[in-house]
């Protein structure tokens, strides 16, 4: 009896010990592989940064490309002193801000109507909104191109080669998903809340602005960040619809004007790319949790 009990206890303790040892090893391996993946994921932005700090002489010198031997800000000075770069930045900022405003106005009101007020066909419309999000820009740019020509021929309004045209088309990329996120958030607000407001005599608009928008603020922030990131990063539409230097937005401007023929000024290109990536990165750094909530909202809600 005693023999068995004694033999049993250390055995069991040994088993526990091995589990916690397993856990510890699993954790160590996790950190190791996470570090490897982090190197893989962060290498291009890191390389952007170090190249942007090099002079042209250092870039073409035959030495370790992964290190900066003589850090300099000359690329930043040269680029920020360029008029065209500032124009790209201004265009991008204006387009993004306008698109975000339009997107939020359209999608918040529409999502409220679809989530709470139900009308004939509203359920179908909600699904349809999500499906339009799946129609890619690569499918639409050619017919849009032709439609712009048609608008010019009939009304005389030239939509081609103007940065403000992008304000009209970008909402097609942002509104469906923003609406979808907002429907999810609005649907999660308890019915009692707006019923109480309606009984107290609030109009639908008041219910939306006084109750739904404050309660669903995290969702609104997530949708705003999403719209901003999408409109800042959009590449195909400005590539297809704008050509002259004054009308370009940042991503297209950097890709088309800094690369002249076969001459690559890599220091400036990397600086431009880094500055072009900075606004979304800064927003992400400060509002990461909202950003991630917005990303996962499409799948976990709805």
């Amino acid at each position: 009896m005693a023999d068995i009990a004694v033999a049993g206890t250390p055995g069991r303790r040994g088993a526990y010990g091995s589990i916690s040892r397993d856990r510890r090893w699993a954790m160590r391996w996790s950190y190791f592989f996470l570090a490897l993946f982090a190197i893989f994921f962060l290498m291009p932005p890191f390389y952007m940064l170090i190249t942007s700090l090099k002079s042209s002489a250092e870039i073409s010198a035959a030495q370790n490309p992964w290190w900066v031997f003589g850090p300099t800000l000359e690329n930043y000075v040269a680029l920020l002193g360029k008029n065209e770069f500032l124009i790209f930045f201004r265009n991008s900022a204006l387009v993004s801000i306008c698109v975000v405003t339009i997107t939020m106005l359209i999608s918040v009101t529409a999502a409220f109507a679809l989530a709470r007020m139900k009308f004939w066909g509203s359920a179908t419309l909600a699904t349809g909104v999500f499906l339009t999000y799946l129609i890619p820009d690569t499918l639409l740019f050619i017919p849009l191109f032709k439609m712009f020509a048609f608008v010019r021929d009939t009304t005389g309004i030239e939509l081609m080669n103007h940065w403000w045209t992008l304000i009209i088309i970008y909402p097609t990329l942002t509104v469906p998903f923003a609406t979808w996120i907002m429907i999810g958030y609005f649907a999660s607000i308890p019915k009692e809340l707006d019923e109480a407001a309606l009984i107290d005599g609030a109009s639908w608009m008041q219910t939306l602005t006084k109750i739904f928008i404050p309660v669903a603020l995290p969702g609104i922030i997530a949708a705003t960040i999403f719209s901003f990131t999408v409109s800042w990063a959009q590449f195909l539409y400005p590539m297809a619809f704008t050509t002259s230097t004054n009308e370009l937005v940042l991503p297209v401007g950097i890709v088309t004007t800094l690369i002249k023929g076969d001459v690559f000024n890599w220091g400036q290109i990397m600086t431009g790319a880094l500055l072009g990536a900075a606004p979304p990165l800064i927003i992400y750094a400060f509002l990461m949790d909202y950003y991630i909530a917005g990303l996962t909202a499409g799948a976990t809600k709805g």
């Binding site: 994921f41 109507a113 009308f119 909402p171 991630i292 990303l295």
Partner: protein, 309 residues
Amino acid sequence: MADIAAPNAAVLAGDRRTGLHKLMQRKSTIAFLMALPLILLIGILVLYPACYAIWLAMLNKSMTKFVGLGNFQFLFKRDTFWDVVFQSCLFAITAVIFKAIIGFVVAHFVHNIPSKGQRKWRGMLLVPWVIPPAMSTLAWLWLFDPAYSAFNWILAHFGIGPVPWLGETGWARFSVILVNIWAGAPFFMIMYLAALKSVPEQLYEAAAIDGAAWWQRIWYVTLPMMRNIIAITALFSLIVTFANFDIVRVLTNGGPLTSTQLFGTWGFKLGIESGDIPLGSCVVLFMVPILAVAASVILRDINKRGSEV
């Protein structure tokens, strides 16, 4: 007579006004008006162009004559078209599979470490997804540069000769897919991480009591619980990858020759740069079958979940 008619008309008019007023006050009317901008936007700038693309695809080059399926016939006879079909499928399927695997693995590693540090790692690993793809692809273009490639500099230390990252068909396809995986895997990671968090801990405890090894826990607990998210994320990414434009455009511009062209980039080349709008929209329309299949599966899932709630 006139006396009687006049009040009547007044009553009628009043009725109609209140009728209209009532209609405007009705909940469904207000709701419809609130959704109207959305409906107009989608109708004019998404649905109409999508249908217009089909019409455009059936015109001749100068868009003066209806040629029916002539453009499609013309495309089917061109070898380049079949190359593009092959490349698009290869690109999208390979990239999505690797994105899913890497996302799944990394999500597990992040899930394994103490929750205190998770936020930091997650934040770091999502950076590729946040940078505009056109900008990050420029960094890759520079890393792949034929003369100053920083990768080749490292490889040279191991005695591996200069790799023509973007110069040869095979390598160019590899590089384009690699960049796409790099940019897209973090999205999978975030989605799978969110799904992992929602798997009840008791299931793992039960599995551990039953003596399940780690791979059995993944196979019998994690994967069935995450099946939905895995499918939705993969299908969603398949659509986006299939319709990719910026990465290929910046990295190889379809080259060498046409060996990395996708539907989107080739459609751009034909439709905008060569000015053959009908042929371009014809090429681009070939994305629709894949989109339709993926969309219908996603839709079924959404409806299923909708009825569960």
